[in-house]
Structure formats: C-alpha cells, structure tokens
C-alpha cells in the first residue's frame, strides 16, 4: 500500500510540475528534502530522548501503572486481548495520555515505544499485527482533550474565544476515531478470514 502511495506522490508531482512549469522549483525541492529530513530527524531525536528518559523514571517509580489502571477500561474496548498489566498496555496508555493533553511532540516518542513493544509480541516481523493497525489508526485520528496549539494560534489571530471550538473538536475526533477503528477491525476480520481459507 505504502509503496503505491509513495510512487503516486512522486510520479504525480513530476507530471503536475511538467504541466504547471514548476520543474526548476521541483528539482531544488528534491535536493533540499533530504537535508530537511535530517533536520526533522534531529528535532524528533531530541524529543525521543527526552521522553524516553522521563518515561524510564515514570516506569521505575510505578507512575505509569497508575495511569494505565485509569485508562484500562477504555483500552480494553479497543484491545480486548491485551494484558492490561503488561508493558505494552502501559506504553499505549502513556501515548493516549499525551495525545489527550495535546502534547503532540510527546505522543510520537511514547507511541514509538509502544510500537517497539507491540513488535515484540508480533509473530510475523514484517507484517503489522491487528493491534498495531488499531494503534496506528488511533494515533492518526488523535483525540485531543485540550487542543493547545490550535487555541494558541486562534488567540494570536484575534479570536474572541479561542477555546470555543473544543466541544466540536471532541465530537469530530470521537467520530473519526470510531469510524477509523471500526473500519480497521472489519478489514482485519476480512483479511484474517481470507488467510484462513487459504
């Protein structure tokens, strides 16, 4: 899937640039994209180290257990087979907490930690497990309780009430989450059914 989407992005861009006369711009963009990726990696690397370190402390002290216990009824709905006392459930609950608090740059490092643990439980190392798919879909439709960045920008541009979009944004992300997860679960079931018949 990713292979096709990525190829489409590149080929479609080149075709658009030919017709739009943007070839020189595109040519420069290709070169600069590689160094942009390095910058992004360094920035991301800093936050990964920061949250990796803080999480290690939280885990040693048992703080993550407490958070996991609070969230486990919710996680049970999405991951019914998961051991709620295990390390994976803890990492997932930390990622969900970061998302809810609107700490986007903490959510990614914590999510990566959860992915590493999910991969540890995964039977086929090349193929995404059902829990991984659900977890990544959950992160692409992240549920923010407090949309910090959005509210800050709204205030900067002179909004009378920067936070009044909050209820609407809860409803819309809850709907997105429900649809995304339901679709994922149905598609996982279908593909499991197909592989059984083979």
């Amino acid at each position: 899937m990713i292979n096709y989407i990525w190829s489409f992005m590149v080929v479609f861009s080149v075709i658009s640039a030919i017709f739009g006369g943007n070839m020189q711009v595109l040519s420069n963009a290709i070169i600069s994209s590689a160094s942009d990726a390095v910058n992004l990696c360094i920035r991301l690397g800093g936050t990964i180290c920061l949250w990796g370190g803080l999480m290690e402390i939280a885990e040693e002290s048992g703080l993550t257990d407490a958070v996991c216990r609070i969230l486990s009824p919710l996680l049970k709905i999405v991951f019914p087979k998961m051991d709620m006392k295990g390390k994976t459930a803890k990492a997932i609950s930390m990622n969900v907490t970061a998302n809810m608090l609107g700490l986007g740059n903490a959510a990614t490092p914590l999510g990566l930690e959860a992915m590493r643990r999910l991969q540890g439980e995964n039977g086929k190392k090349e193929k995404a497990s059902a829990d991984m798919i659900k977890f990544v879909v959950m992160n692409s439709a992240a549920f923010h309780l407090i949309p910090t960045t959005v509210a800050a920008l709204r205030r900067d541009y002179g909004s009378e009430n920067p936070f009044d979009i909050m209820p609407a944004s809860w409803i819309s992300s809850a709907a997105a989450l429900t649809v995304g997860l339901t679709a994922a679960i149905i598609m996982i079931k279908i593909s499991e059914g197909i592989s059984c018949r083979k």
Binding site: I2, M9, F12, L44, A141
Partner: protein
Amino acid sequence: MQKITAFILPIITAVIIIFGLFKRIKVFDCFLCGAKKGFHSAVGLLPALVGLVLGVTMLRESGALSVITKMLEPLAEISGIPVDVLPLAVISPVSGSGSLTMFEQILRDFGPDSIQGRVASIIMGSTETTFFAVTVYYGSVGIRKSGCTVPAALLADMTSFVMSAFCARFL
C-alpha cells in the same frame, strides 16, 4: 484557560521526577538509560523520514496539491466542507508543517471566528498527520506490510473533515 495549558508540560515533568525521588530512584541515571534507548530508535528513523519528506515536498512544490484540491472541489460541496478550507483538508494527512502554514493562512484571510476559520480549527484539533504516523511508526520497527492501516486511517480523516464542517455550523 490559556494559562492552565502552559502549566501542563512543566507540571508533568516535575511530577515524574518528584514521584521518582519519593520512590528512591536514582532519577538522573534512570533518565540517561531511557534517553539512550530513545537515541537508538531516533537514528533508525532517518531512512523512513528521508523517503516521507521527499514525497511530501515534491507534492507541495510541484503544484500537485492544488491540482488534487481542484479535483476534489465537487466532493467538498456535496459534503458541506467550505471550498476555502479544502486545501487544508488535502494537506493535513500528508504534512504537519504544511497544514500548520495552511491553517495560519486561513486564520489570516478569513479570521478565526468565521465559518472557514472555525471549520479549519476543528479539523486541526481533530486530526493528526496520517502519513507521518504510518511511516514513522512502522518504519521504526521495520514493518513492511501495513495491511489496512492506510485506508482505515484515511477514512477516519474524511470523517473528521465532514464532521468538522457539520459541527462548525450547528455548535
């Protein structure tokens, strides 16, 4: 409210460390141990990021995104998404920095309390960069077959766009 949100991050950091001290943990040694693990996974991300950024930058700079936006205009009208917000909806699954720029442009052009500004704000509050999540999360552990992740995630994004337009009108 604004002030409260500024409290979140510093308080969390302090709580983690105080709780660790309370449990008699060597907090800095422990921090270094976790950070070191993080460093290794960060280095491993570079190849996936180079690929992702290449695709995204090409889409943006070639004008392909505006072509896609033009093609989707009829669909946006049916689902009630304001046409001025459509560029944001198109770029938001692909690029986080790109959608932030687009969001600011909408706020500047139409104002944060206009219908366009409100729809854009709700979209920004309820979606993440899908392709970033898929590439980075799977890239970090070496998954090659993502199964139904991308279709399910894109379906979630589309739900969020339609619901944002709907909620902005009725809430």
